[in-house]
């Protein structure tokens, strides 16, 4: 590890602290070390990470299932940035804005709700249409005078954030400078184009949250590899063994694992309908990918899941999980216990991982730990993530 302390690393006007250590993460896997400890435990590194990793890239912040009805609005705070997601009554389109009034900076919407009309700031009642246009500046020119010659309404619209919807997930690019979502994620969109079909979520059994005392990167790393299955997920390993898995390696984009032994089997003896027009390889295949930085994805013939990792602090995350089915019939009452069994199965898997993520977080305080070594065979997907992360910082 560098002999300089974290304070010295920042005070030496080095734009990227622990640069030498980060450079080791982009070496070939045989020679590489993982990302250094400070990026898991230090607030200054997290602040830098927010600017470079989260503000400049496409980040998952929420689910469209929370905005089914036209006029629905949901405030989402992600890494301290207040967002406002609206499905407009005017065109049914979902848009994302910064949840702030351009007047005095008041947070506009406090709770999810269904808007009847305009958004009214609770402070001075400036109003905005559901497409973000300013539509009233009451008393701005004095009592009863609602305009002023020096103030242009066009400058008072809500601040829209570049956004994209894919697989029921709302993505944002806060700085607005990232390439279009479809360009950045062309390879995974192509890989899973067969799943570009309607998906259905019941909003109850198929939704759950977990809080984990570990850095967000550890949750990503742990999901990427199958290496730990025999020890951490003995139940899962009993029908989908280590040798049934294959790495998914796409440097610069995403990584994960394939299980070639996916089998849908529930005690209710009911099976969910499969997605339409899948190729035969999906009969026994499941794919588990992380779209960097923070979206965990699962794809099987009969259901999908999305898990958004929200960093809360250097050592804490919230995981929000949604499971989706291929047909609205799967949301009927007669499938309720099967849905519940499926959700519990995944919940058990994600809960089994908590011990590991929290254990690795504690281990990151060991001064002698150099970011760790990678198995060139088993840890390739993890190295893809470290390489992606380190390059983003080094190229910033």
């Amino acid at each position: 590890m560098s002999e300089l302390t974290i304070e010295q690393q920042f005070n030496n006007n080095k734009p990227i602290p622990f640069k030498k250590e980060l450079e080791k993460a982009i070496l070939n896997i045989e020679k590489a070390n993982g990302i250094p400890n400070q990026y898991y435990i230090d607030q200054k590194c997290m602040d830098l990470e927010k600017k470079i990793i989260f503000d400049k890239n496409w980040v998952a912040i929420g689910f469209t299932k929370d905005l089914n009805e036209p006029g629905s609005v949901k405030p989402i705070t992600f890494l301290n940035t207040p967002y406002l997601v609206i499905r407009s009554k005017e065109d049914s389109k979902i848009r994302v804005f910064q949840n702030v009034c351009p007047h005095r900076g008041m947070k506009l919407i406090q709770e999810p709700t269904i808007l009847k009309g305009a958004i009214r700031c609770p402070y001075h009642s400036w109003c905005y249409s559901q497409t973000g246009k300013n539509c009233a500046t009451p008393h701005i020119g004095g009592p009863g005078i609602n305009f002023h010659k020096d103030i242009s309404k066009e400058d008072l619209n809500l601040i829209e954030v570049k956004s994209f919807i894919w697989r029921g997930v709302i993505f944002v690019n806060l700085d607005g400078k990232a390439k279009n979502f479809e360009q950045v994620n062309e390879s995974i969109l192509k890989r899973w184009e067969l799943f570009d079909q309607p998906i259905f979520n019941d909003n109850s059994e198929s939704s759950f949250n977990l809080t984990v005392n570990g850095n967000w990167k550890l949750a990503v790393e742990n999901y990427l590899e199958a290496y730990h299955l025999p020890w951490i997920h003995p139940g899962l390993n009993s029908y989908s063994k280590l040798e049934d898995h294959e790495n998914i390696v796409n440097y610069g984009h995403y990584s994960g694992q394939i299980s070639h032994k996916y089998k849908a089997s529930y005690s209710t003896a009911k099976n969910f309908k499969n997605f339409k027009n899948l190729t035969s390889e999906w009969d026994s295949k499941g794919e588990y990918i992380v779209l960097f930085p923070n979206l965990i994805l699962g794809a099987q013939k009969d259901h999908l899941f999305n898990l958004i990792i929200e960093p809360i602090a250097t050592g804490q995350i919230k995981e929000s999980i949604e499971i989706y089915y291929s047909d609205p019939e799967m949301l009927n009452e007669n499938f309720k216990s099967t849905r519940l069994e499926n959700a519990n199965l995944w919940k058990t898997v994600f809960e089994e991982d908590i011990f590991v993520v929290e254990g690795m977080q504690k281990g990151r305080y060991a001064k002698g730990f150099d970011g760790g070594k990678f198995s060139p065979v088993m840890d390739l997907p993890t190295h893809v993530f470290h390489d992606w992360y380190a390059r983003k910082l080094l190229e910033a």
Binding site: G117, R120, C127, T131, A136, G144, F147
Partner: protein, 81 residues
């Protein structure tokens, strides 16, 4: 209690009960009251109050209020969408 004091009380009560559609109608009523007394300043104040509630509630009075405020030169380029 005169008419305007009663309106004042009703507006406060409706506000407290979060009956915003009613708040809008009451502000509109207050504006009409002052307009009938040729107190245009006070009328425009209340029309403005009614307007923001009408926009939020998508109230039928919306267009009428905008018309009044534009008539008295108090609103310009009103955008509803």
């Amino acid at each position: 209690m005169d008419d305007i004091s009663k309106l004042d009380t009703d507006i406060t009560e409706a506000f407290q009960k979060k009956q915003m559609k009613k708040v809008c109608s009451l502000y509109f009523e207050a504006a009409n009251y002052f307009e009938n007394k040729s107190d245009i300043e006070a009328a425009c104040f209340f029309y403005t109050q009614a307007l923001v509630m009408a926009l939020e509630e998508n109230h039928d009075l919306k267009e009428k209020i905008i018309h009044k405020l534009e008539k008295y030169g108090r609103n310009q380029d009103t955008t509803l969408n």
